[in-house]
Symmetry: C2
Subunit: 116 residues, 2 copies
């Protein structure tokens, strides 16, 4: 990894009452915008759509770890992880972009220090 491990922060959030959870273009754009807001560098975005009416699973691999998303459109919920390292990274700003883009409400949020 490109940054010191002791700066690692893992921000976990479940978001409810979301829209757009089956929209592949929206989910990719959301991951990329979240990375910009979080001040991290995207190495690649990898997505899988489970089919019409179904959800998406995806990850943005970062120079600073990853942002992942798993969605259930039929329930309006998405599970988000922002695992970042480096003192410049702002996981919370990335999460706020995702919540706003999906027009959802945070149900669960936890911040975990990793590798400290």
């Amino acid at each position: 990894m490109a940054h010191s491990p002791e700066t690692s922060l893992h921000l976990i959030a479940d978001i409810e009452q979301c829209r757009g959870l089956g929209d592949l273009d929206l989910i990719e754009a959301t991951l990329r915008e979240a990375a910009i807001a979080a001040r991290v560098t995207v190495l690649g975005v990898h997505l899988h759509h489970f089919g019409p009416g179904m959800g998406i699973t995806g990850v943005a691999l970062l120079a600073e770890s990853h942002i992942s998303i798993h969605t259930w459109p039929e329930h309006g919920i998405a599970a988000i992880d922002l695992f970042v390292c480096g003192l410049q990274a702002d996981a919370k700003a990335g999460l706020e972009v995702i919540r706003r883009r999906l027009e959802g409400r945070i149900r669960l949020e936890k911040s975990i220090s990793r590798l400290g």
Copy 2:
């Protein structure tokens, strides 16, 4: 996603005193073996090597969410997430495969119910 969200379990672990953390083939094989042990289905494995002597960041996208790994060979540490859903999934068995393959010791382990 392919499984009910309320069955989601997120197992987080930091592992220390590991070997092989810069070996791309080993890391890919480890992710695939962990998925078999966890009884989950791999959709794709995506890896990035930061260069000679440096770490790897990677993810196995699953029909049941994801397994991610971030490694720091210079410190002998790896950060692992196994996010799975479905009653058949066994994240703990997947983690044990990873720990054994990397010959490491668990420093931190947390199990978090998601979307419950």
